[in-house]
Symmetry: C2
Subunit: 328 residues, 2 copies
């Protein structure tokens, strides 16, 4: 493997000059820089990132923490962040906390120990003391701890749109309330609740402990056992909605004639369900992209127009909700 000395020899400069080029500090003539870069390329010389990050206490790595990689919403976020970071020459260290506090703490430690340049955290525990002890910039994604840079979408409006989509044609509505410790889940819940309270409908609330697929399957069975008269369900995400939809069909109910179901997120699979799922679209890919942009701006100490970015949501009517009369 080529060394920095080989590069210096090939370029006809000193090791110190190569080092200045590598670290982008001190004056180097443009023509010299080009010659050094050409020598590095020719010799297939990879600067030692570890040594460089030790020296400069920085790296081109970004740590991304996701709560559940098996929920397709989060890979979409990751893809958005990844594309933006790659474009700027950064790479992701990725951690999946599996909604467990311990794993989250371990990944944060891994990120710190490997001197990432910054962290994007779609954490279930945004108020952890550990986040304030991190030297690197942190941007929260899909989570909004007060005072911290964050990218999220407008959950309160999303919840209202979800409830409005079914409230006029369902009379016994079940509102699924997502995990209590997640402000995003609570935002959409309160938005929906506001609409239901003002409408002339019976409704009941079931609280769910997680957004996970496994819990959603159990929940779906329980829901129909406890509230057989339910004719409208507002799910707290698409995974839940898919599980509920499946269970409704299994019980011989017609969707949307007997029961309307609306999800939340608009993961790619929702369109492929049968009937295709009506849902509230969060712009997941763009949210990931915005989080990466915000983080890079902070890393580069650029002036920031906004540090708590909230993106718009949208009602996507497919076939699990009925058309409003006014739409007809």
């Amino acid at each position: 493997m080529a060394t920095i000395k080989d590069v210096a020899g090939a370029a006809g400069v000193s090791v110190a000059t190569v080092s200045r080029v590598l670290n982008d500090n001190g004056y180097v003539h443009e023509e010299t820089r080009t010659r050094v870069m050409a020598a590095m390329e020719k010799l297939n010389y990879y600067p030692n990132e570890v040594a460089r990050s030790l020296y400069k206490r920085e790296s081109r790595l970004i740590g991304l923490l996701l709560p559940d990689i098996t929920n397709p919403f989060f890979p979409q976020l990751a893809r958005g962040a990844e594309d933006e970071l790659n474009r700027e020459g950064y790479r992701l260290i990725f951690g999946n906390s599996d909604e467990e506090l311990n794993k989250e703490l371990e990944y944060l430690q891994t990120f710190k120990q490997n001197h990432v340049a910054g962290i994007i955290a779609a954490t279930n525990y945004p108020h952890l003391e550990e986040y304030s002890g991190i030297d690197q910039p942190v941007v929260f994604l899909d989570r909004t701890p007060e005072g911290a840079p964050s990218v999220s979408s407008d959950g309160h409006t999303g919840g209202k749109l979800a409830a409005e989509a079914i409230v006029h044609r369902s009379k016994h509505i079940t509102l699924l309330k997502g995990p209590a410790h997640l402000p995003t889940a609570q935002d959409r819940f309160h938005g929906a609740l506001e609409v239901l309270q003002q409408a002339d409908v019976d409704f009941q609330i079931i609280e769910t402990a997680s957004f996970s697929f496994k819990d959603a399957q159990a929940l779906a069975k329980e829901l129909f056992a406890i509230y057989p008269e339910t004719d409208g369900i507002i799910a707290s995400n698409d995974i839940q909605a898919a599980a509920v939809l499946h269970e409704a069909l299994r019980r011989g109910k017609k969707v949307p004639e007997d029961i309307q179901i609306i999800g939340y997120d608009d993961i790619p699979q929702s369109e492929l369900l049968f009937p295709p799922l009506s849902t509230i679209k969060q712009p997941a890919y763009d949210m990931g992209k915005e989080a990466a942009k915000l983080l890079l701006s902070i890393i580069k100490k650029q002036p920031l127009a906004e540090t708590a970015i909230q993106m718009p949501v949208m009602y996507i009517r497919r076939n699990t909700t009925r058309k409003e009369e006014k739409d007809a």
Copy 2:
């Protein structure tokens, strides 16, 4: 933040002794080691992984390369690998190549530059010259370049099972042939082809350029336009099968009465499709786990019983294929 000197002071030993404990080299009395560990814990001292990896040329990071994080099959693989690695004190650097050669090369370079302890590659380009130039151990996952350590599942049998599931009750079968550069796709294709050639059915083959969701949607529309008489479809993965299923229903066909459809992979969402998708189950989570185990064995220089591990597959009959007479 505590330093190595603080730890030495608190434990009543020299800095050199703490360093020996940290690097696990040279003789340290067991009682002394315990005292040092306790002091580190008490002072919340994190050894500098970057410095350590520079010195020892190793780290506790593993690089994982996936071709498409938005295909739910791959997060399952990742979860299996992750759980096993976490249990052994390793963490993942994750890269999503998006089926692009350039991104794959860039991630490999990132992995090398950050001195990962090893790489798990679910690569689309297993024959890349770059893989032979890597100093760290590499285990291929879901891919099987000859002579290299790998974990895959038995695709040939999987393809045969898929064809056998529909061949007796469909007369005009469409066999979707996955990407030509992926041996796993070709294995399942050839398995299915073998069965179809021996059976008394018409069949046609459509080759697909990728496993991605976007391509699958276009493919589904094309398939029914070109071969309207198709009454049986063997998809090369579940994403394709879901797209095909959706398009069939949209065209008013009854599944499985008018047309049988079988997928491949058994991603979690397949069970939630309507009708629930019949498919060939690959044990994705366990494959990830086995790949991590194999990689760790190689890193630890343990004797290996097997370096090309092939795991069994299974036919899961749900509602998009019909029961065989012999089953009834």
